[in-house]
């Protein structure tokens, strides 16, 4: 008989704790209702891509030496380098260059290995088109200067979480000019230079001490 009552007591306890957890969950959901939306209202607001964002590839025709390194490092040999040998000058003459962004995976190997830096990554990512063939960019399309979210007057640029001032979670809350948390890369470089010069002094002092000994 006591076993039965214990079972009933356990069961009741379980039911009560389940109800308690349910209320806790409801409190969490209710709390979320008071928070500000974290969504970005896309066509009107856009996030600013980070410095190392790998978007559409930009290409400068005049810098290119038609070495085809980009083709060799590409996982699928995607760039098409159309050149002919000029017998008189004994030099390659570049006629056309194209990359198909419907196939490109934006790994950035071509940009990494280009000996003349004629390839570079932009922050453009809106490449949608009605026809996949229009994603095949020739050297003119590749040479178009990239547009930026920050210069578009019809778009409100928003910073990503890592670029906001300390303690701020929502880019709507602060003006775009407020400095980000932590040091800028240039400031970090200065700091590193100072540190290394200090270390150099210490090292030279210890060296002189050793020489004395």
């Amino acid at each position: 008989m006591t076993g039965f009552f214990r079972q009933v007591a356990d069961y009741t306890q379980n039911a009560i704790s389940a109800g308690k957890y349910l209320l806790q969950g409801l409190a969490v959901t209710f709390d979320h209702m008071g928070r500000r939306p974290i969504t970005v209202q896309y066509p009107y607001e856009k996030l600013i891509p980070s410095e190392r964002y790998r978007g559409r590839i930009h290409y400068e025709f005049d810098k290119c030496i038609a070495c085809e390194v980009c083709v060799r490092v590409c996982p699928i040999n995607l760039p098409v380098v159309d050149w002919v040998m000029n017998k008189e000058t004994k030099k390659k003459e570049l006629r056309n260059y194209s990359i198909d962004f419907g196939v490109c995976i934006f790994c950035g190997n071509c940009v990494e290995y280009c000996p003349t830096n004629c390839l570079s990554m932009t922050e453009e990512y809106e490449l949608a088109s009605f026809d996949r063939h229009s994603l095949n960019f020739d050297n003119v399309a590749l040479g178009r200067l990239p547009t930026s979210v920050t210069t578009d007057p019809s778009v409100k640029p928003l910073r990503e979480l890592g670029y906001l001032p300390q303690g701020i979670m929502d880019p709507h809350e602060v003006p775009n000019k407020d400095p980000r948390a932590g040091k800028l890369p240039a400031e970090v470089l200065d700091w590193m230079k100072q540190e290394s010069s200090k270390e150099g002094e210490i090292a030279s002092i210890s060296n002189t001490k050793e020489e004395v000994n």
Binding site: L26, M33, T39
Partner: protein, 372 residues
């Protein structure tokens, strides 16, 4: 007993004043409350759909519909319009008659149940003696429609969804009816009007929720299960069953299901407020306030005022419950079918039985507090 505002009587008197016989004035009166309740049910659904989308968005830190009307209030209208002009597809191997009959059979009992929902002393279509029992009886027609549409779709997901819906409705009907029975036992009547009147003698202190806390919780759980709301939405569990019995439906037939589920939700919330939260009753009895202000309760102006307060109170209570249902939707995970049946048969049924017996014992022991 305070009869309060009686629109039917005033209407009939007015028409008879123009020399129209009482039969004709009665016939003229009949369609008015029906139209009114039908349109209020539809508006209630539109508001609920909007509320669902907005509250869901807020719970997920989104904005929700924004461009269709101010704050997206026209979004449910736009949804309805879209469904209205969509192509009405009946799958080639489906049973056309049953396929069409299914959504109708789901929607009609739900709308019929609005017959007994009171917004005031005389503000309901008909004060039938069996009142709340009529609702329970009508709501058991619904699973037939669900099963019918699931079976007729000739699709395994639809069939599974229909079977689940039927199993769920049947298992949760019993604890629901038992918890209603406990309330009925206390108020000695099945009529919704009497049930509310019995709760409103001392304002919010005499609401049934204090005397029937267990019954309230059981009723709410079962009502959610009957409406197929999360955590009990497994008949249409989209991750496993595509959309359950709704899978093959499009256009207006889908809209009927959609409408039915939301009308059912509003109806359940209304009935919870009627059975447990004092229906149209203000938290403090309106008669007291009227006496305090030195007004006679029977003067026409005060009657109109108390009548409107009653409607507003019913709607406020209902929408608080709808809000709770939406909040629960984003809090609780969906239960499995075995967990659902376990909860229904092994937990809610015995507890509601014990609750009923306990209420009967209390009624015998304390007839003053528990309606002797």
């Amino acid at each position: 007993m305070n009869t309060g505002l009686d629109l039917e009587l005033s209407f009939n008197n007015l028409l008879q004043g123009f020399g129209i016989s009482s039969e004709i004035s009665h016939i003229l009166w009949l369609p008015l409350p029906m139209l009114l309740v039908l349109s209020s049910a539809l508006i209630g659904v539109l508001v609920t759909v909007w509320l669902e989308r907005k509250v869901s968005a807020a719970a997920q830190q989104r904005i929700g519909p924004e461009y269709a009307g101010a704050l997206g209030v026209l979004q449910p209208m736009a949804d309805g319009l879209k469904l209205l002009v969509k192509e009405d597809v009946i799958p080639a191997k489906a049973d056309g008659l049953l396929f069409t009959l299914g959504p109708i059979l789901v929607l009609i009992p739900v709308i019929l149940s609005w017959l007994i929902v009171p917004f005031g002393q005389n503000l309901l279509i008909s004060n039938v003696g069996i009142g709340i029992f009529l609702w329970i009886a009508l709501s058991s027609i619904q699973p037939i429609g669900l099963l019918m549409s699931g079976y007729a779709s000739n699709n395994k997901y639809s069939l599974l969804g229909g079977l689940r819906a039927a199993a769920q409705s049947i298992s949760y009907e019993i604890p629901l009816a038992l918890s209603v029975l406990a309330v009925v036992m206390m108020s000695n009547s099945l009529s919704t009007i009497d049930i509310v009147n019995q709760q409103n003698s001392f304002g919010f202190l005499s609401w049934n929720i204090w005397r029937q806390p267990v019954g309230f919780v059981i009723f709410w759980i079962c009502a959610l299960a009957e409406c197929e709301r999360l955590p009990f939405d497994l008949p249409e569990a989209e991750e496993e069953l595509v959309a359950g019995y709704q899978t093959e439906y499009a256009g207006m037939k889908f809209a009927l299901f959609y409408l039915g589920s939301y009308i059912n939700l509003v109806l359940s919330a209304l009935l919870v407020s009627v059975l447990y939260l004092g229906g149209w009753g203000f938290p403090f009895p309106v008669e007291w306030i009227a006496n305090l202000l030195g007004q006679n309760v029977d003067t026409p102006l005060v009657q109109v005022f108390t009548g409107s307060i009653g409607i507003v109170m019913t709607i406020i209570k209902t929408y608080l419950l709808v809000f709770l249902a939406i909040l629960l939707r984003w809090t609780t995970p969906r239960v499995r079918i075995d967990q659902l049946l376990d909860l229904g048969w092994k937990f809610l049924l015995p507890i509601s039985l014990v609750n009923l017996l306990f209420t009967a014992a209390l009624k015998l022991a304390f007839p003053i507090a528990f309606g002797g």
